[in-house]
């Protein structure tokens, strides 16, 4: 990032703060020249606001208060967002408490500092008090209004993002379900088998039915175990083996302790399908597909390799941009596990990594929380 891009917005913000502070200070100073306002202010502050130690000193106080309080609000808001993501109303209350607390402390500190400044540098406290408090109060009100607006806009944005994400996740799950190409080819295989090898035709129909049922359930059942995924993948492999015969050779090396891992459905099968499609269907000779699953501590690794031509690029973005089944898997994995999931391109395949969740997961999945807010 260049200096310009980091400093320009901050400079803009600072000038906005200074301008608002100056305006607030000026407003107070202007009001205090009006006899009616002066009376009111005198009652409100028990002091004589007409007494100025310096000409236009209200503007100076306004700027000091505005910059200090506004920056406090922004700083605390950012920190709160980073530490306590907004999920429930309680989180919001914590944010409000934190921000008001910080504003109170800063307000007190700045008040004491300006009072000390008036007392020791200008040598008088009495007259400085009203212009000191009034701009501060005005600034607090303005800052609170702006903060509220920020939160409201942020909420609205998050709500829309969450809605969009849920919709996209559902759409992706739907899209992952049916690959028409695979379906028609399988039906063609069954038609070929039905007269000559009826037993084999029967088996393919059963596998297809099971696989289809699994994919239909996928959108209602967002979380499954790896064992379920493996079973569905085996149905798929059995069908493809009928199609490609000896041209397809599949090996599996899946550690038993990883089979209980929970994950979104329809992740493994699309990756294996991708390997078959881009491995077997792109080489004219036999092709081996290897499925590996392992668990190291709390991380699950799933790799699917094939002896096909492999990816022509190592750029994940470029591969995802092609809109294949792989990008669908990637996005659904990210929607489920967030930043903790990763997809890596290998020279001869794909590797997935995600945290090991089993039983009730410690963290609520992202999709569900997005819906809650």
């Amino acid at each position: 990032m260049s200096m310009r891009t980091t400093w320009l917005p901050r400079l803009r913000l600072l000038s906005l703060m200074v301008a608002v502070g100056a305006l607030a200070g000026l407003a107070v100073q202007w009001f205090s020249q009006d006899p009616l306002m002066l009376d009111w202010l005198r009652v409100a502050t028990w002091r004589d606001p007409a007494l100025h130690l310096l000409p236009y000193d209200g503007i100076g106080y306004g700027i000091v208060y505005c910059v200090s309080i506004w920056s406090t609000v922004i700083g605390v808001m950012r920190l709160a967002h980073r530490r306590i993501p907004l999920r429930t109303w309680r989180d919001l209350a914590t944010h409000v408490l934190l921000i008001s607390g910080a504003v109170g402390v800063v307000f007190a500190v700045v008040s004491v500092l300006t009072a000390l400044f008036c007392l020791y540098v200008l040598g008088q406290l009495a007259g400085s008090a009203p212009p000191l408090y009034i701009p501060a109060l005005v600034t607090v009100v303005i800052t609170l209004v702006i903060t509220a607006c920020c939160y409201a806009v942020g909420f609205y944005q998050r709500l829309r993002d969450a809605e969009q994400q849920t919709m996209q996740a559902e759409l992706r799950a739907l899209r992952a379900q049916i690959n028409p190409h695979f379906l028609f080819n399988t039906l063609n295989s069954i038609a070929a088998l039905v007269h000559r090898r009826p037993d084999e035709a029967e088996a393919v129909i059963e596998h297809l039915a099971d696989l289809f049922r699994y994919t239909l359930r996928a959108s209602q059942q967002p979380r499954v175990t790896l064992a379920d995924e493996i079973e569905a993948t085996e149905q798929y492999i059995a069908i493809e083996q009928a199609r490609f015969r000896e041209r397809l050779f599949v090996t599996r090396a899946i550690a038993p302790e990883v089979e209980t891992a929970e994950m979104p459905s329809l992740i493994l099968q699309p990756i294996v399908e991708n390997a078959v499609k881009h491995g077997v269907a792109k080489t004219e000779d036999a092709c081996a597909v290897q499925i590996e699953g392992s668990r190291l501590g709390q991380r699950v690794t799933l790799c699917v390799r094939d002896t096909g031509p492999g990816f022509d690029t190592t750029d994940l973005e470029a591969v995802l941009a092609r809109g294949t089944g792989l990008s669908n898997v990637y996005h659904r994995l990210k929607a489920h596990f967030g930043e903790e999931a990763s997809l890596t391109l290998l020279p001869d395949g794909v590797c997935l990594q995600f945290p090991y969740w089993s039983g009730a997961p410690a963290r609520v999945p992202h999709e569900a929380t997005a819906r809650a807010i």
Binding site: H181, F184, N188, S189, A191, L193, F244, V280, T283, E284
Partner: protein, 245 residues
């Protein structure tokens, strides 16, 4: 009717063979190929009346096979499981096609229609092939004696035009006539890999070893097999830019 079947899936070929036996139009299956690479020489050698050509195949797909079939072309019925792009192309160009799973009635209807047109050239197919002459070429065919061979463009050192013929000089040795003009090759092969250095020469840039000054501003390229290829004066700049870049 003499028929060739092209599909990479054994079951799909089996199914088609079964259906052809069951249809009441008499056909003679003179050959089967399990991929585009074997289909092109097979069609060239057997000269069938009709080819059933699967679209989705590894290596060379159905359209690539069509690109490599020089006229006179046989009648072709395309077969596809589900390919939106292909289906659109079939509709737009009024080509014969069948969808998988292939049905006996539709197959028989196609056979009857083509049997009636057998003595005419496949007009729609020829027009479609013509419309694809600017599409990139993924493979090439060359004549090795009476046989037709399918090769990858990367296997070629350079192409050379001699009189009316164009020869491909292969990296593995040997020179064979091919059916494309230098101009067509320059347009349809990957321009990052093949460079027109002379009216009569198109060079595979990965095989260039040296650029040597020759006479009066012209240059010569030395290729990996020691062969020298002339560079036309007006193309020197492009060659130098490419070798530098």
């Amino acid at each position: 009717m003499r028929v060739v079947l092209v599909d990479d899936e054994p079951l799909a070929r089996e199914r088609l063979r079964d259906l052809l036996h069951r249809s009441d139009v008499h056909v003679d299956v003179v050959g089967e190929a399990d991929g585009g690479k074997r289909a092109v020489p097979l069609i060239y050698e057997t000269r069938p009346d009709l080819v059933f050509l699967d679209i989705e195949m590894p290596g060379l797909d159905g359209f690539d096979v069509l690109d490599l079939l020089a006229p006179p072309r046989p009648h072709v019925v395309f077969v596809t499981a589900y390919d939106a792009y292909a289906l659109r192309a079939f509709e737009v160009h009024a080509l014969d096609y069948l969808t998988k799973p292939v049905r006996l009635e539709r197959l028989t209807a196609s056979l009857r229609r083509i049997a009636a047109l057998l003595d005419q050239p496949p007009a729609a197919l020829n027009a479609f092939a013509q419309s694809r002459t600017s599409a990139p070429l993924r493979r090439l065919t060359l004549h090795a004696g009476r046989k037709l061979r399918v090769i990858e463009p990367a296997d070629v050192l350079c192409f050379e035009a001699q009189d009316k013929l164009v020869f491909a000089h292969l990296r593995t040795g040997g020179s064979y006539p091919i059916d494309f003009t230098i101009q067509a090759l320059a347009e349809r092969l990957d321009s990052d890999r093949f460079l027109r250095v002379h009216r009569a020469f198109l060079v595979n840039v990965t095989t260039i070893r040296e650029l040597q000054p020759w006479y009066s501003g012209t240059y010569q390229l030395r290729l990996e097999d020691g062969r020298d290829v002339p560079v036309a004066r007006r193309r020197v700049r492009a060659v130098k830019a490419l070798l530098r870049g």
